[in-house]
Amino acid sequence: MSLHLEIVTPEKKVFSDAVDNVYLPGADGELGVLPMHACLVTSLQPGELRYLHNGQVVTLAVGSGFAEVTQTKVTVLTDMALGEDEIDEQSAEEAIQRAQEKLQAVEHSMDAEEVAYLQGVISKSAAAISFKRKFRQ
């Protein structure tokens, strides 16, 4: 019994193959998924996603989004999924900077959606940076 993992971002299909297990950064904390897991839909927070593929643990930094878990399949929909070598720390830091500046500008307009979006950008980039640093050590 295997588990099919599919990671999709708006830009591309990042990964699609059978894996042995998946660890997701769920909204209520990290979530381990093995084959025959109960059906579940969870929202994801920016963090670290791990899966075991052909005996190798692969780790990706993911942004917010959500995941659908069925007994044979895990679908991860997220706005970012990057491997360690794909993360550019500097541009991530710049993204945070920009988002924070914008955030200050729109805070007065009370546009809840815009604020939520910018906070999403910040936490996403922060997750990417901490992920990158962790790997360097």
């Binding site: 999709v8 708006p10 839909v41 969870t42 679908t75 929909l77």
Partner: protein, 297 residues
């Protein structure tokens, strides 16, 4: 011999035209590649999103979220995505025909793109808003459009929101389409094709083994729905734009290519005629000279 000069002038002007259309073809081809890549890349995400919504549809009802609410009444709002520039074949005309066939004549219109905005205004439709979207399509510019549309729906100004756009099939084929955006048609049990998917004619798959799966939701069903549904609306709107843009550049590329081909064919024909005339003129002149020489002998 005025005829000769006329032909020469024609050849020159046709050559100029061919040069221009060829340049436009090259520009469109470059943009087309980018736009097509973007359209194809976004499809996987939109499809998965649709599939997830379909899978969990039995776990929520019409009351769970305002986006799902079906209302009596037929006040319709249509987002029309056309092109800013012309010279892209029958793209906009086809879309206009589709809109006429598939939406109510009293529907109000929101437009993106100049071409059909002008047409809608001419036809006396009520255009309530107009947006501009850059090329290539940035997500940040379609978000306000999605927000505007859902706000109109939530405020109860309209009972149904649709999108009219051109779906990209391949470089030679683009299909005009009208799909319903709101209310999201997820919960309607028994309907095989409850979802209309933008772009691909993608249809959701029924899982045969376990049709009535009960999903657990984390943190809670309401929170998950509140996250997924706006995302779905945002992405449908975005994908519709990306598809339209890919269609536009493809159509323009093809139109300009056939224009260039026609011009080149025309040049060939004109050159042939020109040479024939020139040859005729030379023959006639030679004839005159020889006749004159014969007369002198």
């Amino acid at each position: 011999m005025a005829n000769l000069r006329d032909i020469r002038r024609r050849i020159k002007s046709v050559k100029n035209t061919a040069q221009i259309t060829r340049a436009m073809q090259l520009v469109a081809a470059a943009k087309m590649k980018k736009a097509q890549d973007q359209a194809l890349a976004g499809r996987a995400y939109a499809e998965r999103l649709t599939q997830v919504l379909f899978d969990i549809r039995k776990n929520f009802s019409e009351e769970s979220h305002p986006f799902l609410e079906h209302r009596e009444g037929n006040r319709e709002l249509v987002l029309v995505i056309s092109t800013d520039k012309g010279l892209c074949g029958p793209l906009n005309t086809n879309l206009a025909r589709k809109i006429r066939a598939q939406t109510s004549p009293t529907a109000d219109i929101v437009t993106v793109g100049r071409k059909l905005r002008i047409l809608c205004e001419k036809l006396g439709k009520n255009v309530i808003a107009d947006f501009t979207v850059r090329d290539p399509v940035p997500f940040s510019q379609t978000r306000p459009i999605a927000k505007f549309l859902s706000q109109q729906f939530l405020d109860g100004n309209y009972d149904k929101v649709s999108i009219a756009f051109t779906s990209f099939v391949n470089t030679l084929r683009q299909e005009p389409e009208v799909v319903t955006l709101l209310p999201i048609q997820a919960h309607r049990d028994g309907e095989e094709q409850a979802f209309e998917q933008i772009g691909t004619g993608f249809s959701v798959q029924q899982h045969q083994n376990d049709p009535d799966r009960d999903f657990t939701f984390e943190p809670s069903p309401a929170e998950v729905l509140a996250a997924i549904l706006p995302l779905y609306v945002n992405y449908e709107v975005f994908q519709a734009h990306v598809e339209s843009r890919a269609s536009e550049h493809s159509a323009r590329m093809v139109a300009m290519k056939s224009a260039t081909d026609n011009a080149n064919k025309f040049i060939k024909e004109l050159t042939l005629e020109y040479n024939k005339l020139r040859q005729g003129a030379i023959t006639a002149e030679l004839l005159e000279i020889t006749t004159a020489m014969k007369a002198m002998e």
